[in-house]
C-alpha cells in the first residue's frame, strides 16, 4: 500500500509504503467511516498541503478535509482522524514534515 502526501509544487511529493499490518489497519479504519454519498471532492487549495493519496492495488483513495473518496463513493471523516493516522505513519526520513502537515490539518490552512 503506497501513501503519497500531496504537498509540493516543484519537488516530487513524499511517498512511502505501509507495512502489511498498517495497511490492514488503514482498510479497517476506512471501512468504518460513514458513507457520505457521491459528493464532490473538496477543492484543491493549490499550494501547500492537499491531502493524502493511498494506492492499494487497483484502489486509489483520496483523503482530504474530512472527506475520503474512492471513485464516485465518498465517506466522511469530520475529525480528520484518517489524515492524523496517516501522519503518524510518516517514515523517520520524512519526520521533518510532520509539524507542517499537522498544522495544516489542524488549522484547515494550506501548507
Amino acid at each position: 500500500m503506497l501513501v503519497e502526501v500531496d504537498l509540493f509544487s516543484g519537488r516530487p511529493n513524499p511517498r512511502w509504503r505501509l507495512d502489511p499490518r498498517a495497511a490492514e489497519e488503514f482498510r479497517t479504519l476506512t471501512a468504518g467511516l460513514p458513507p457520505a454519498g457521491p459528493v464532490a471532492r473538496p477543492p484543491s487549495p493549490g499550494l501547500g498541503y492537499r491531502g493524502f493519496t493511498v494506492t492499494d492495488a487497483d484502489r486509489v483513495i483520496h483523503i482530504f478535509a474530512g472527506r475520503v473518496t474512492e471513485g464516485a463513493t465518498s465517506r466522511t471523516d469530520p475529525d480528520r482522524s484518517l489524515e492524523h493516522w496517516l501522519l503518524t505513519r510518516l517514515p523517520s526520513s520524512l519526520r521533518h514534515l510532520h509539524s507542517v502537515v499537522a498544522e495544516a490539518i489542524e488549522d484547515g490552512r494550506e501548507g
Binding site: 500531496d6 509540493f8 493549490g46 499550494l47 501547500g48 507542517v100
Partner: protein, 328 residues
Amino acid sequence: MTLLAGHCYQQGVPQQMRSIGMLRIEVSIFSGRPDPSWIITDGSTVRNLLSDVADAAEEVVGIPGAGYDGLGYREVVVSAVSDDEPWPESVPRSFALGTLGARNPGRSAELARRVVEGMTRHADTRLAEHEQTPLGDELRELLLGEMDAFAAEPPTWTRSPELPAHPLRTTAQEIAPSATCYIEFGAFNPGFWNTPAVQPNNNCYNYARNIRTDTFAQPGRAHGAQTGTMACPNVTQAALADGFVRRFQCLPDSEKPRWLTALVIWPGQDYHWYRFHSGNFWGHKPGRTQARDYDNSGNRITNPETCNRGGYRDFCGYFYAGRSVTIR
C-alpha cells in the same frame, strides 16, 4: 518505399525517421473521393515549414474545419504525426493554412501554396488514400489552380472566423529604468496541461517554461546543477543553469517565445513558479494538480508578489525563459 495504411502509418517507419519529425498534410477539397494526403518525412522541410509558420502564427494559422466549408477547395490541414516530437510552442499540433479562418488569409494562402508545391516529392510514403487519390503532377496542378482561384476570389463566407486559442501570443514591451525588453504574452491554455497524460507528470517548472517533458522537471537537473536546498539563491542558480535569465536581461528575437516567470520559495521545503499571460494575469500549476490562474484564496493572480501563496512566502524575483531554456 514505406507502406502505410489508415491511421497506423507510423508502423514500419524507421525509428531514426520518426525522431526527426514528420508532418501529415491533407488538402481539404474533394467531396466523394479521399482528399489528397501525404507525409513529409524530410526533417529540414518539416523544420523550415514549422519555423515559418511559427514566425507568423497569429496571422496565418486557423482551426481545421473552422473556415470555408462549402464544396471545392477549403484549406490545407497540417498535423503532427506523433506527439513526442519537437514542435513550436506557438503552433497547434493540427492547424489549417490557406484558410479563410486565418487572420490574414493572403499570407496563409502563400504558405499553403508552398506546401502543395512540394507534394509530389513526398509520394514515397504510401497512404491508404493514395489508392483512390494518387499523388502526381496532374493532381498537384489541379490543387494549385484551385487554390489560386480561391485566393484570388474567396467564396462568400459569412461565419465569423474561429481562431485557435493556443497560438495566439503577442509581443510586448517590458520597461525598466535602465532597459526596454521584449517578451511574449502567451494565451492561458490550461486544457493542454489538465489531461490524464500530462497533468500528473508535469509540474510548475514545466508550466513556467511552457514545455511538457513528462519528467516532473527540476531546476538545474538538465545541466547537473540541481539543488536540494530550498532557498531563493539556490533554486535561482539552478534555474539560471538551465538558461533562465533575470528580468531585464533582455533576450534577442531568436529566443522567442520569451516568457515572463516568477519564482517563490517555501523555505526549506519546496519552490514554485508562475508564468505571465496575455490579459495581464498569471498562471501556474501546483505540482500534479491542475493548471490554473487563481491563488489559494480563489482570486485570479494579477500579482505573484502579493497573491495568497500558502507557505511559499519568499518571493525570489522575476525571470525570462526563452526558447533555448532546456529543462528535464
